[in-house]
Every structure is written in structure tokens, then in C-alpha cells.
């Protein structure tokens, strides 16, 4: 999926608010995140069928993310318990996810995958 260039404003920040795809809960306000390209493997957000096959993989490699450096920058977001040394981000209201990724080894990096959210 190509990044829509209108998503990033002149100052390099998100030009539109980031919302949950399912319930519309506001995750990030305008101008709070920068665009980062990084290969992150996230578990699938869509319900997988009982037979996981090639067209329904368990995980997805996502490259484009909104990056913030302080968890209090988020308007609303949920953090899962630790999976190894990673916490996944989920919607704070409907808890769908994962919409993002945070490594306990990188305390100042919080990623929200563009493909896992929608933009206002």
C-alpha cells in the first residue's frame, strides 16, 4: 500500500488525526507523530479462519508507521501485556489490534501501523 502523501504535513507530522478503524476512537491528534519506515511483524488483526493458510497468515509485515516518543502523546491507546520484550498497542475503547508496537528495549519509541488505523 502506498503512503498517501497528504498524510504528512510540511513539518513532517501527521496532517490528520489517527483513529481506530473499527470504532473511531481517537488514537493520535494532528501534528503529534512523525512517519517512520521500519519493518515490523505484527500479528494479524483480522479474524483468521479455522484453517490458517497462505491467504490467511497469522502475521503481517508492516513498514509504514506513525512514531511517537512518549506514551502520553497518545490521546487514547491500550498496551498489551508483554509478549517477549514487546508490547502491542490496541484500541483503548474496542481493544481491536494490534495497531502498533513497542519494544521494552526502546523505551522512547511507539509505532502505530498506518494500515491498522484510519485517518480523519
Amino acid at each position: 500500500m502506498r503512503m498517501d502523501e497528504t498524510l504528512v504535513s510540511a513539518d513532517g507530522k501527521n496532517s490528520r488525526a489517527v483513529l481506530c478503524q473499527r470504532c473511531g476512537c481517537r488514537v493520535l491528534s494532528v501534528g503529534t507523530a512523525t512517519l517512520a519506515k521500519r519493518e515490523l511483524l505484527l500479528p494479524s488483526m483480522k479474524k483468521k479462519s479455522s484453517l490458517a493458510d497462505e491467504s490467511n497468515p497469522d502475521t503481517e509485515l508492516l513498514v509504514e508507521h506513525w512514531l511517537v516518543h512518549d506514551m502520553f502523546t497518545f490521546e487514547n491507546v491500550g498496551f498489551t501485556k508483554d509478549v517477549g520484550n514487546v508490547k502491542f498497542l490496541v484500541c483503548a475503547d474496542c481493544e481491536v489490534g494490534p495497531i502498533g508496537w513497542h519494544s521494552l528495549e526502546e523505551k522512547s519509541n511507539f509505532y502505530v501501523a498506518l494500515q491498522r488505523v484510519r485517518h480523519e
Binding site: 519493518e39 502520553f72 490521546e75 483503548a92
Partner: protein, 243 residues
């Protein structure tokens, strides 16, 4: 500048807490200004016995398209939520431990850093009410003296199954200095989110005006998001892919 409390929620829904009706125009008024950062941050914990059975917003979305794999298999640790009250924008960091299996799974550090504590019981299940003294012992032992306490009787929508009267709940709260009480129903949209507003409002009312500045938010920021238990980290390795 709004003079009455309003709750601005993501997605454009305006829910006001209190007697005032919702203000549909309010969201439009804010759109002209750039969103401002939070005025300050508060930590809140929700505690209560197994079986308090809060109906979460998620249950209303019985959408088979999406998988709550993260919630059901991994579990939510904590949430950041934003509320607006009295013209201030407040970020809450919420640990919702109510209903978790192990009574002692909540460490003392969670209590200590919490500015607000919501204690939940299920008004249709007497045993969850009888457990309250047990939770109060933890609060007395570990919580800060100035933490705001709120007792919530959940499942107001199940009136026919009620086992604890409102008076019983009120009486319990009255025994504890400063503890407020209310009954709630997640099902009727009077869910735990509205409870936060009540709690935060009480916290704000207690705060002296000269503290309501960024200095306060900075000091709260210095608290670690996790309790002060050093995690056992695996040896450092280049962070490329997870899993």
C-alpha cells in the same frame, strides 16, 4: 471557554456528564484550533474481585471481521485515555485489574502511584461486595493518602438480579473518609468511562490552582509507566523484526 464539564471522546461523540445536554457544536468549535497537548496526567487503577463482570464497550462490537486476539490471548496491561474537564485536558494512565484471577497480582507499586482508585463490585453478586474489606486493606496499606477513592456498584442494568442495595453500597463508602459511591451499567452506556470523569473531577477539585501547571505534569511523567520492578531484559540484540 466552557464553564461546565464536558467529555470529548474520540470519534466525534459528545457525552456530557452532569445535567447539561450534549453540545453538538462543541466539537466544531474546537476544530479551528490546533489540538493542544494534555494539561496534565494522572494514574488511575481499577480494582475488584473476580466476577465483577464489567461489560466492556468491545462486547457491543460483535463484528466477526476483527479479531480480538490481542485482548483475549495476551491481555491488556494498561491504557492511556484522555478526558476533558473544567477546561483542562487530562491524560489518564489506567490499570484495570478488576476481575483478574490472582488477588495479589497487583503489586504495591500500582497502588502507590495511583492518584485515583476505582473499586468495583457487582451488585448482582454478594460475594464481590463481601470482598470489599479485603481490597480496602490493600488500599490502606499501599495507596497514597491523597488518592481519590470511588466505589462502583456495577451491573445497574440487571436490576432483577440485584443482591446489594444502593443503600448498602452508600453505607460502605460512607465508612471510608473521602470515598464516593455510584452505581454503573456498562450496558446502558453509563459505563466505566463516565466513572473516570467523576473521579478525575474529584481529583481536580482537590488540586490547588497553582499546581495546575505543566510542572505537575512533569513530575507525574517522572513516574515509570510500569511499577518500579526492574524487568528482566533479555540480552540486547539489534531490534529488527519482532517475533
Amino acid at each position: 471557554m466552557e464553564s461546565r464539564p464536558g467529555y470529548h471522546r474520540g470519534g466525534g461523540n459528545n457525552i456530557t456528564w452532569g445535567d447539561s445536554p450534549a453540545l453538538p457544536g462543541a466539537q466544531g468549535r474546537r476544530r479551528k484550533q490546533p489540538p493542544r497537548p494534555a494539561d496534565f496526567k494522572l494514574q488511575v487503577i481499577i480494582i475488584g474481585s473476580r466476577g465483577v463482570g464489567k461489560t466492556s464497550l468491545m462486547e457491543r462490537f460483535t463484528d466477526d471481521t476483527f479479531c480480538e486476539a490481542c485482548k483475549s490471548t495476551v491481555g491488556v496491561d494498561f491504557k492511556i485515555k484522555t478526558v476533558e474537564l473544567r477546561g483542562k485536558k487530562i491524560r489518564l494512565q489506567i490499570w484495570d485489574t478488576a476481575g483478574q484471577e490472582r488477588f495479589n497480582s497487583i503489586t504495591s507499586a500500582y497502588y502507590r502511584s495511583a492518584k485515583g482508585i476505582i473499586l468495583v463490585y457487582d451488585l448482582t453478586k454478594k460475594e464481590t461486595f463481601d470482598d470489599l474489606p479485603k481490597w480496602m486493606k490493600m488500599i490502606d496499606k499501599y495507596a497514597s493518602d491523597d488518592a481519590e477513592l470511588l466505589l462502583v456498584g456495577n451491573k445497574l442494568d440487571c436490576e432483577t438480579d440485584r443482591e446489594i442495595t444502593r443503600q448498602q453500597g452508600e453505607k460502605f463508602a460512607q465508612q471510608i473518609t473521602g470515598m464516593r459511591f455510584c452505581e454503573a451499567s456498562a450496558k446502558d452506556n453509563f459505563n466505566v468511562d463516565e466513572i473516570f470523569l467523576k473521579l478525575v473531577d474529584d481529583i481536580l477539585k482537590k488540586m490547588p490552582l497553582d499546581i495546575m501547571r505543566n510542572e505537575l505534569s512533569n513530575s507525574i511523567l517522572s513516574l515509570q509507566p510500569e511499577p518500579e520492578i526492574p524487568p528482566e531484559l533479555p540480552p540486547p540484540r539489534p531490534p529488527v523484526r519482532c517475533c
